[in-house]
């Protein structure tokens, strides 16, 4: 690792902190020391309680038990403003920007109401913070017009603007490019040099190993282990990862090596797209003459910086978005004419990346959310009438198969952790009758175990001869499972690379606009 950080004294100490939610103990007597001059990585599978812990540190939730000490003195953190005044700045897992305000206004948010926002000096400070990060920030833009990645950048900058002593990043890298992540790492390093403390939550063990000084692992709400700086430095990467995995899952690492599934015998195209074009909208790029074909059992990856039309492509295919021209052929059958339901019945499935926004109905029970796309269809509905018992039973089954962590199938799905909501969606889309499946960022926000499991599932269904379109911003992921990787940029495919040696560099160069 890089040079020696000063092992500081604890800024924040958690003693036996406990937080309960209906049906769940999100944090169970957690002890934690967060020290100045350290990047403290917090790991844990989905639902382990990381975000909840953060929520308490930032004044959003109040602990049900235990105490929080700041500089050794007990301080109940009453409210977010209190947390801020204590010098605790947070980038939350779920976007916390006001879509209808401009970036500048969002950054100014929180100023005392009688003060006028001072745009000029704001611009100056943003510039000086963003530059080293290699981030371009357009203060004038409406947030709703930014891509999720850009929005995450804005949030990081906002957290840095308030020069806080403790900076918390909850899955703040999930939407960044590899380059952006590296720069963020360097920045964290500089910050801790200055004596700040950083809490860094991620699901990517690589990042943990690269950026972390100290690693704590949460499991089912409990702090199950910690790797102090000296040990961290002593271990070399592979060993470290194995150790962490052992802590998190109590077993050896499921192998994440590249294992591209064998292609099914016949490889005539199963899903074929010709000159698909979509009109651009104020807040999204259009698509321009997209063409590709996916054979039986083939996994085609779509690589690209976030916000280059991936979502539009997926929605156009699924029938959610009007295409101006082009045709979609599934198993030799034109399906342009069909609506979302029709395409689904034909076997075309779409797993959205916007779990809370459109993937689920947060207030509905988990059980109903499994079947949201087949409401009214037998056997769960008979002649339009709901058959509660069958639905319950089937829901339990899926919950078991896909290992969804939930108090019960009648729990509102919105209460689950991000990762578990994702499992519900996967269970829904892979349900019987699938022929071609579109995955949009299927593993974003998932912990390692779930990521591996999900990837394996995708390989399996490909193995069963289904066509898979895998949209992801995570190059590693694409390389680890796709047969071919197409690169999307400004709404058109700029090239397709067969997976294999050197594919990574070629894709990478296509992504940054250099012909491969």
């Amino acid at each position: 690792m890089m040079e020696h950080p000063r092992a500081g004294l604890p800024i924040v100490t958690l003693e036996g902190v406990t937080k309960r939610f209906p049906g769940i103990v999100a944090n169970d007597r957690v002890d934690l020391d967060i020290c100045a001059g350290e990047v403290h990585v917090l790991l844990g599978e989905n639902g382990a309680g990381k975000s909840t812990l953060i929520a308490m540190l930032s004044g959003l939730q109040q602990p049900d038990g235990g105490r929080i000490l700041i500089d050794g003195a007990e301080v109940p953190i009453r409210s977010p403003s209190h947390a801020l005044s204590l010098g605790i700045g947070t980038v939350f897992q779920h976007n916390m920007l006001v879509p209808t305000l401009t970036v500048a206004e969002n950054l100014a948010l929180g100023g005392r109401w009688w003060k006028r926002p001072r745009t000029a000096e704001l611009a100056a400070r943003v510039a000086e913070i963003a530059r080293p990060l290699g981030i371009e920030i357009n203060l004038g833009a409406r947030v709703s017009e930014l891509s999720l990645g850009e929005q995450q950048q804005v949030e990081i900058v906002r957290a840095l603007l308030r020069d806080s002593r403790l900076l918390i990043l909850d899955e703040a890298t999930s939407m960044l490019t590899p380059k952006g992540i590296a720069e963020l790492g360097a920045l964290m390093r500089r910050l801790v040099e200055r004596g700040l403390a950083v809490v860094f939550i991620t699901h990517k063990l690589g990042e943990a190993a690269d950026f972390g000084d100290r690693i704590s692992v949460l499991k089912l709400g409990r702090n199950v282990g910690e790797i102090p700086p000296e040990r961290l430095r002593s271990l070399e990467r592979a060993a470290l990862v194995d150790e962490i995995v052992a802590m998190m899952f109590g077993r050896q690492a499921g192998d994440d090596a590249v294992s591209i599934p064998p292609r099914a015998a016949n490889d005539d195209a199963l899903l074929e797209v010709r000159n698909l074009s979509v009109a651009a909208t104020p807040d999204a790029p259009g698509l321009d003459a997209i063409s590709f074909a996916i054979g039986h059992g083939e996994i085609l990856g779509i690589a690209g910086i976030d916000g280059n039309g991936q979502k539009q492509l997926a929605e156009a295919l699924a029938g959610q978005r009007q295409a101006v021209s082009g045709s979609v052929v599934l198993a030799g059958q034109e399906i342009n004419g069909l609506d979302v339901g029709g395409r689904r019945r034909q076997g075309l499935r779409y797993l959205t990346d916007d779990r809370l926004g459109e993937g689920t109905v947060g207030t509905f029970p988990v059980s109903i959310n499994y079947f949201l796309k087949e409401i009214g269809e037998p056997p769960l509905w008979r002649s339009g009438v709901e058959r509660s018992r069958e639905i319950e039973a089937r829901a339990r089954e899926l919950t078991r198969i896909y290992d969804v962590r939930t108090p019960g199938v009648s729990t509102p799905v919105g209460r689950l952790s991000g990762g578990n909501i994702q499992k519900v969606l996967i269970a829904r889309e892979l349900a019987d009758g699938a022929r071609a499946v579109i995955f949009n960022k299927p593993t974003y926000g998932l912990d390692l175990a779930n990521t591996l499991a999900t990837r394996q599932r995708i390989r399996d269904i490909a193995g069963q001869g289904l066509a898979v379109l895998l949209i992801s911003t995570d190059l590693e992921e694409l390389l680890s499972m796709c047969h071919r990787i197409a690169v999307i940029s400004q709404g058109s495919l700029v090239g397709t690379v067969p997976n294999g040696d050197g594919a990574g560099e070629r894709v990478g160069r296509l992504m940054i606009g250099i012909a491969a």
Partner: protein, 364 residues
């Protein structure tokens, strides 16, 4: 009220909350009767302030609205139109659509029925005439509801505005129709032709209770079952809870929107029709009972649960019938009934909240 029932946007209650009302009735009764007693006390203070004996007043309310056979019959009769309105609102609110145009829709339904029924009975057998008039009224209101429905479905115009406006408009229109189009030539009073008492909906048994009550009950129970037990109901609730998810799930949201408005307004229009062919027999110019406004909160308090709504509608009727009588006997202006009703509504809402809180604490 349960988390999502509180929202203006996401109305629907997930199944579990739906059953909540049936789960341990005792508690529900407590959190219903408790607040009512409290509000009686509060309203009592108002009465004392204006120098009226609260006990006497409430005595009359209970006696005239509930206990005396006559009073009870009046109360039940009053329920008929209210039940239809409640049913209509439940459909709309569960689908997350804010049909605040009840008054206009109610009046138009009433006028349509009053315009057609008296003429039809002359040519058709009684029951058929009523049925036809009833259907005509419904159709008229459904068409009326297309304006806000289409605006919302295809232009994204917020329906709270449109329905509110359409309500103002509908009330005026109803007047115009009565005074200019369907005026009864037989009288100088600006009103429609009158449906003879004999030709109106039969009364139940030997009482003065209109059989409209039966239809009203049927309507609201059916609505409840459809909303909670069928795929159609679930689709509507999905649209209500998260329109984007509905699109993602392949539901035809615009179409469903229009359907929701049609059903909702249609039911409210039926309420108007029932009121005419069952009780009034004609519509007078400038008549507007403004039931819609009173029923909206009731439906919320019932958490859009049909059965609970029946109970609250009954309560509302008792208060209005008994209140009218009591106010008259004690020389209090009728307006006091408004005060009483509103205090009841507010305390009930608070009780709902406290109960909800209590449950949360207990669950964790």
């Amino acid at each position: 009220m349960s988390g999502e029932a509180v929202h203006v946007r996401a109305a629907p209650l997930d199944a579990s909350a739906g059953q909540a009302s049936r789960r341990d009735l005792g508690r529900r009764l407590l959190i219903t009767l408790g607040p009512i007693l409290i509000s009686l006390a509060l309203a009592g203070c108002v009465l004392l302030a204006v120098g009226v004996d609260p006990l006497a007043y409430y005595g009359f309310v209970v006696e005239r609205g509930l206990l005396s056979p006559l009073g009870l019959q009046q109360t039940l009769t009053r329920m008929a139109p209210l039940l239809f309105i409640a049913a209509g609102l439940i459909v709309a609110f569960r689908a997350g659509m804010w049909n605040l145009g009840g008054d206009g829709q109610f009046l138009l339904g009433a006028v349509a029925a009053a315009a057609t029924a008296p003429l039809l009975v002359q040519s058709l057998p009684g029951w058929l005439a009523l049925l036809v008039a009833f259907l005509i009224a419904t159709v008229v209101v459904v068409i009326w509801s297309l304006v806000p429905a289409l605006l919302r479905a295809y232009q994204g115009v917020n329906e709270i505005i449109t329905t509110l406006m359409m309500s103002f408009l509908g009330v005026s229109l109803a007047n115009v129709l009565v005074k200019l189009v369907f005026l009864d030539p037989g009288t100088t009073v600006p009103q429609t032709r009158t449906l003879p008492v004999g030709d109106r909906l039969p009364r139940l048994f030997e009482t003065t209770i209109t059989s409209g009550l039966v239809f009203g009950l049927a309507a609201i129970v059916i609505v409840h079952l459809v909303m909670t037990r069928t795929a159609f109901g679930l689709k509507l609730r999905t649209v209500g809870a998260n329109p984007r998810a509905a699109v993602h799930a392949g539901l035809n949201v615009p179409l469903l929107t229009v359907v929701v408005f049609a059903i909702s307004a249609g039911l409210i229009g039926m309420g108007g029709a029932i009121d005419i062919i069952g009780i009034h027999g004609n519509v007078r110019a400038d008549w507007n009972p403004a039931y819609g406004l009173a029923v909206i909160p009731v439906v919320f308090l019932a958490r859009m649960n049909g059965f609970a709504a029946i109970g609250f509608v009954f309560l509302l009727s008792v208060l209005s019938i008994g209140g009218e009588s009591a106010a008259r006997r004690l020389g209090v202006p009728q307006h006091f009934t408004l005060v009483l009703v509103s205090i009841v509504l507010i305390t009930l809402a608070i009780a709902e909240y406290l109960d909800h809180r209590f449950n949360q604490v207990r669950r964790t």
